[in-house]
Amino acid sequence: MSGKTILYVEDNEYNRKIVRQLLAKTTYQLREAFDGEQGVAAAVEHPPDLILMDIQLPKMSGLDATRQLRNDPRTAGVPIIVVTSFALSGDEHKATAAGATAYLAKPYSPRALLAKIREIVPED
C-alpha cells in the first residue's frame, strides 16, 4: 500500500527527476512543488511525512518557506531537510535557524540523500 509521503520543493526539472527515479524503487510517495509558495500551499493542504526543500527557489526562498511552515500548526511538526548550496557559506546556520530538521549540502549524491531520508523517516 501507499507508504510515507515526501514533498519535494525544487525548481530544477532534472533534480526532481533524479529524486523521482531514486524514490521509484522505494515505498515513499513523492509529491512535487516547483517554487516556495506552491511548496507551502501543498504542505499545508496535505501535510506530508517529510519535506525536502531546496534553498534557492523562485517566488519564495526555501528558508522563508521553512519558517512559514514551522509557524503553521498544521506543519510545525513535519521534518524538513533543507538542501543547501555549498557555495554560500553559513547556509547551514541559516537553515537550522529557520527550523530545518537537517540539511544536505549540494552537490549531494543520490545515495547520501536516500540514506538521510531513511534516517529521518524510516521506510514502511
Binding site: N12, I18, L22, A87, S89, E92, P110
Partner: protein, 535 residues
C-alpha cells in the same frame, strides 16, 4: 579692513588715537630695521639735547658763581681799605704824640698796603667802580701829601701846626675816602644781590627746562616704543590668527595689514600661500570626489563580478549536479544492470565531473575571498573532529595508492573556536595534495598546541618541492610546473584558498621541503578566533 576683526585687543587699539599713529607707522614705506633705527635715534636725540642744555645751564651758573666770588673778594678788599684808612689815622695820631720817625714810617707802609689793595680791587672792577676808585686814589695821594706835610711839621717840632693840619685836612680827607670805599662796598652788595637773584632764576629755569625735557623724552620714548612695537605686533597677531585658520583647513581668509615693510611683504606671501593652498585643496577635493566615484563604480563592478560568479557557479553546478546524480544512479544500477564494459567510462564521467565541480567551487571561493565577501562562520569545534573528517574523506584514496595515512593529534586539546568547515577544507587541501604527490611511504596529519595557537602539520614522503619554488606554492594556479597539473590533476587553487582561509583566521601557513624526500606543510591559527581578519 586692516588687521583682524576678531582680535578684540587690536580692534580696541585701532579705535584709539594711538591706533592712527600705529597705522601711520605701519604705512611708512621703509624696512622694519630703518623704522626701529629712526625711533631709537629720535629718542637718543632728545636725550642729547637735554644733556646739552644741562651742560649750558651748569656753565652759566658756575660763571655767575665766579662773579659772585669776585664781588665777595672786592668787598673783603674794601673792608681792608677801610681798616687801612683807620690804621693810617691812628698812626698819624700816634706820630703826633710820640713824634717818632718809626710811626711815620708805619704810615707810609700802611699807605703802600692801601695802594696794593686798591690796585687789586681795580683789576676786576666794573667800569662804574673805576671812577670811584680813581677818586679814592686821588684822595689817598692828597692824604699822603698832607701826611708828608704833617711829618715835616713834626720834625720841625711844630706840633700844633701839625695837629691843626691833621684836624683840618687829613681827617676830612680820610673820612671822604672812607665814604667812597663805603660806596664801593654798597655797589658790590647790590651787584651780589643781583647775581644771587640771577643764579636762583637760572637754577629754577634749568630745573623746569630739564624736567620738561625729561618728561617729554620719556613720554615720547614710551609712545614711540608703543606705537612702533604695535605696528609690528598687530601684523604678527593677524598672521597668527590667519595661520590658525589655515591649520584648521580654512583656506578662504586673507590677512590684510597696512604695513609697507617686511610685514606687508610677509602678509602678501601668506595670502599667496593661502590661495595656493585653497587651489590645491579644491584640486584634492575634486580628485577625492573623482576617486570616490571611481571607487563606487569599482565596488559596483566588483560586486557585480562577484555576484556574476556566484550565480554562474550556481548555474554551472545545477546541471553538473544532475550529471553526477544520474551517473551515480546508473552505476548503482537503479535503472537495471550495467554492462561491465560501460562501468569504466561511467566511472571516468564521475571522476571528471567531480573534478569539474571542485574547480567551480574553488574558483567561486577565491573570487568571493578576493571580493571581500567571504565570511567565516565562527563556532566552537573539536580539533579531533576536523582531523577525523579529513581522514574519513581521504582514507580510501590513501588505501588505493597503498599509502599510510597517520594522524598524530595531541591528546586533550581544548575546544577551539573558528570556522571548522573552512579549516577542514584547508586540511583536506593539504592532505589531498600530500597524497597526490606521494608514491610510497606515508602522510602524517598532526596537530599541536603552542601556547594560545594551534599548529596543524601535514608531512609526506613525496616528491618534494625545489627550494626556489617554495615561495610560489601558495600563489594562484601555481603548481611546481605545468606538467604536475597534467600528471597529478588538481585545480592549482587549493593552496591559495588554504592560505586565504588561514589568513582570515589570523594565522600563518608555510612549507618546509627537501626535493625527493618529502614536504611538510604547516599552518598555525589562534585557538580562539574571535573575528575574521580582513585581508
Amino acid at each position: 579692513m586692516p588687521f583682524d576683526r576678531t582680535d578684540p585687543l587690536a580692534a580696541f587699539l585701532l579705535r584709539s588715537p594711538l591706533g592712527i599713529l600705529v597705522r601711520g607707522v605701519a604705512r611708512i614705506r621703509t624696512s622694519v630695521q630703518h623704522k626701529l633705527l629712526a625711533a631709537f635715534l629720535l629718542v637718543t636725540l632728545l636725550f642729547i639735547v637735554m644733556g646739552a642744555f644741562g651742560v649750558y645751564t651748569h656753565r652759566r651758573v658756575s660763571q655767575q658763581t665766579d662773579w659772585l666770588d669776585e664781588a665777595h673778594r672786592r668787598v673783603d678788599l674794601s673792608h681792608q681799605l677801610q681798616h687801612s684808612l683807620a690804621m693810617q689815622m691812628h698812626l698819624t695820631g700816634m706820630a703826633l704824640i710820640v713824634r717818632d720817625e718809626t710811626a711815620l714810617a708805619n704810615i707810609l707802609r700802611e699807605n703802600n698796603r692801601f695802594n696794593d689793595t686798591l690796585a687789586r680791587i681795580e683789576e676786576q672792577a666794573p667800569d662804574a667802580e673805576r671812577q670811584i676808585i680813581q677818586k679814592i686814589r686821588a684822595g689817598q695821594e692828597e692824604a699822603m701829601t698832607v701826611v708828608a706835610d704833617i711829618a715835616n711839621l713834626v720834625r720841625d717840632d711844630k706840633v700844633d701846626a701839625a695837629t691843626n693840619l691833621q684836624l683840618t685836612r687829613e681827617d676830612p680827607l680820610y673820612r671822604s675816602i672812607d665814604g667812597l670805599v663805603h660806596v664801593v662796598v654798597q655797589h658790590e652788595d647790590v651787584r651780589m644781590a643781583t647775581l644771587r637773584a640771577s643764579i636762583d632764576g637760572a637754577n629754577r629755569r634749568a630745573l623746569i627746562v630739564v624736567s620738561s625735557f625729561a618728561v617729554a623724552s620719556v613720554a615720547l620714548a614710551l609712545i614711540g616704543g608703543f606705537v612702533i612695537s604695535w605696528a609690528f605686533i598687530l601684523p604678527v597677531r593677524a598672521a597668527d590668527t590667519f595661520l590658525t585658520n589655515l591649520a584648521a583647513s580654512r583656506f578662504s581668509g586673507t590677512v590684510e595689514v597696512p604695513n609697507r615693510d617686511e610685514f606687508g611683504d610677509l602678509a602678501a606671501r601668506l595670502n599667496e600661500t593661502a590661495r595656493e593652498l585653497a587651489r590645491l585643496d579644491a584640486d584634492q577635493r575634486l580628485t577625492a570626489d573623482t576617486l570616490r566615484a571611481v571607487n563606487v563604480r569599482l565596488e559596483h563592478a566588483s560586486r557585480a563580478k562577484s555576484e556574476f560568479l556566484a550565480n554562474m557557479s550556481h548555474e554551472l553546478r545545477t546541471p553538473l549536479n544532475a550529471i553526477l546524480g544520474f551517473t551515480e544512479m546508473i552505476l548503482d544500477e537503479l535503472y537495471g544492470p550495467v554492462p561491465s564494459e560501460l562501468k569504466e567510462p561511467l566511472a571516468d564521467i564521475q571522476t571528471n565531473g567531480a573534478h569539474l565541480l571542485r574547480l567551480i567551487n574553488d574558483v567561486l571561493d577565491l573570487s568571493k575571498i578576493e571580493a571581500g565577501r567571504m565570511e567565516l562562520a565562527l563556532g566552537d569545534y573539536a580539533v579531533e573532529d576536523v582531523v577525523a573528517t579529513v581522514r574519513a574523506s581521504l582514507r580510501s584514496i590513501a588505501e588505493d595508492k597503498g599509502l599510510e595515512l597517520v594522524t598524530d593529534v595531541e591528546p586533550d586539546l581544548p575546544i577551539a573556536h573558528g570556522d571548522a568547515k573552512r579549516l577542514t577544507q584547508c586540511l583536506l587541501n593539504l592532505v589531498g595534495n600530500a597524497l597526490k604527490f606521494t608514491h610510497e611511504g606515508r602522510v602524517v596529519v598532526g596537530v599541536e598546541r603552542l601556547g594560545d595557537q594551534l599548529r596543524y602539520r601535514v608531512s609526506d614522503t613525496g616528491i618534494g618541492i625545489p627550494p626556489e619554488k617554495l615561495d610560489e606554492v601558495f600563489d594562484q594556479f601555481r603548481q611546481v610546473d605545468t606538467t604536475t597539473t597534467r600528471d597529478f590533476g588538481g585545480t592549482g587553487l587549493g593552496l591559495s584558498i588554504t592560505k586565504k582561509f588561514v589568513d582570515m583566521h589570523g594565522g600563518r601557513v608555510w612549507v618546509e621541503s627537501e626535493l625527493g624526500k618529502g614536504s611538510t606543510f604547516y599552518f598555525t591559527i589562534p585557538l580562539q578566533v574571535e573575528r575574521a581578519v580582513r585581508t
